[in-house]
């Protein structure tokens, strides 16, 4: 190995700044705990998410059922954790879909410039004005409801802003010397775009990803709350909150626990997102 010179790369510098930000670290830890709990919890739990026990229906939080039980006597903690799996899975998958479409589309548009760019952005403008939540509902109406469709539909809805942001960044980089050097070296356009330009805008993309995940989670919870998303007996935070609201007057914990899980996750994501933005984009530090 060659001797390494002590330089601060942008990425390391950003890490250092992130680690010095207590709320961001708090958010990161909280999010990590949440994910570990949702992934590992259902294995450890003595109950399954669909196991009914009508004799202990609607019991409050206790040492046997930490979050209490629902109207069919199912363990609410297990259901909340399993619901969390769904919420995280939908959020990650849909964000990934939007990331791939948005970065590719925005990258090509910004890199090509000129007429291609004008047309591609005009299409985005037109799509931007459509009521997308409703299109997702329409998709759900037309096709049988299933989880994969939910991922894809939400992801296909969320890529527009990503495309716009990436395009702006790519346009800023397109005429820099190192890109001209690549052109002189005779690299293909695809190689320049994906190997040389896109890594340089990673920071912005990460910031936007941390914004996309919570909005996707909210959309999934919204649809499940309306009964259009995850179907019973499967649970997600949205569907658990819906069930809890029905029994709110008598058994308020049935709504509070899944609601709190969603709240804590969104809070953690927001802390982390704000911290990442400050760390990766120091010029805007302190702004909201």
């Amino acid at each position: 190995m060659k001797k390494k010179t002590e330089t601060y790369s942008l990425r390391r510098d950003a890490w250092r700044r992130l680690l010095r930000n207590p709320t961001a670290i708090g958010g990161l830890v909280l999010l990590g705990l949440m994910i570990v709990a949702c992934v590992a919890g259902p294995w450890v739990s003595p109950y399954t998410f669909e196991e009914m026990d009508l004799l202990s229906a609607n019991t409050g939080p206790s040492s046997t059922h930490w979050f209490g039980t629902d109207e069919l006597g199912r363990d609410l903690l297990t259901r909340t954790l399993v619901g969390g799996r769904i919420s995280f899975a939908v959020a990650l998958a849909a964000t990934l879909v939007s990331l791939v479409i948005g970065v590719t589309y925005g990258g090509i548009s910004g890199f090509m410039g000129g007429r291609v760019d004008a047309w591609m952005m005009r299409i985005v403008d037109v799509l931007y004005a459509l009521p997308f939540t409703l299109l997702v509902i329409l998709l759900i109406t037309v096709f049988e409801r299933n989880l994969i469709l939910l991922f894809v539909a939400i992801g296909a809805v969320e890529w527009l802003t990503m495309a716009r942001i990436v395009r702006g960044q790519v346009m800023g980089l397109r005429h820099q010397e190192f890109i001209e050097a690549c052109q002189v070296l005779g690299y293909s356009r695809a190689r320049i775009l994906f190997r040389h330009i896109l890594p340089n805008i990673l920071g912005t993309v990460i910031i936007y990803v941390t914004l996309t995940i919570p909005s996707v989670m909210l959309l999934e919870a919204f649809l499940s709350f309306l009964g259009l998303g995850v179907q019973p007996p499967m649970s997600s935070w949205g569907s658990l909150i819906k069930d809890g609201v029905g029994a709110m007057e008598d058994f308020p914990w049935q709504m509070s626990f899944p609601g709190a899980a969603l709240f804590v996750t969104l809070l953690a994501l927001n802390f982390l997102g704000d911290g990442l933005r400050d760390a990766l984009d120091p010029r805007r530090e302190g702004e909201s």
């Binding site: 037109v126 004005a129 009521p131 939540t133 509902i137 009964g227 259009l228 949205g238 007057e249 927001n270």
Partner: protein, 309 residues
Amino acid sequence: MIRFLIHRLIFQALPTLLVLTLLSFLLVRLAPGSPFATEKELPPQTLETLNRTYGLDQPIPVQYFRYLGGLLRGDLGPSLKKPGFTVRELIGSALPVSLELGFFALLYALILGLSLGILAAVRPNGWGDAVAMSMALLGICVPSFVLGPLLALGFGLELGWLPVMGWETPADRILPVISLGSIYAAYIARLARGGMLEELSKDYIRTARAKGLSETRVILGHALRGGIQPVISFLGPAAAGLLTGAFVVEVIFNIPGMGRIIVPAAQNRDQFLVLGCVLLFGALMVLFNTLVDVVLAWLNPRIRLGKGA
């Protein structure tokens, strides 16, 4: 300004609407499976009659242009699952309710959000800023379907101060509007703070202060015009979110709005009814976005003097 408006309508609003109708119509018509498919197998003759009655036996382009023609006359087609009702009849009484809910929620979000945002930007990093931004952060993390039930439980069922059902008296409107609007108030507060901070750091503000204007005039008379532009740009997406977010609130507070139509329709797969709702909201959104663009152009002459579009 008039030219700007006409340009916007012809080159932006019209194509958007056409794309929306085409996209959603094709989606509905090209999807596998008949819209009449039920648990029980229908005899082929019945299916054929149904298809003929609703004009579904024609080629797709013919169907599309017929549908488009109907739209121009204000005819949204028949409901497939509630025989005898047209989509227009079903939507007719629900739409004003949803629009009213959305309007008041937007108004509440704007008033609260702008006040908090401006307050925070006036003394950045002070305690007012900290309080306002903490509130905004909390607001972003509590979606309406959590806030609504909590408010209903607290102020309605426990304290008994406010009604939690229906849409009759003015008091009925308070909790739904707060539930729906709060998350947008939070977004607006953050955007307003960012916009105001950027504007307040510009040179002309220093000039305004140097010539001895009061701080109130500097902020409300000068900085506000530029500072609220991010908020105005957000109003388009916000309105879309409010209209769809209203579905949830309507379900929670038992309000006879669009949510009570579209949700069962989506569950029953009443395709024309959902299609009608989507197109109606699409048209509303396009109209609203055009309005937002006009306001932005009025606030910032550079937009309308630019390339036009």
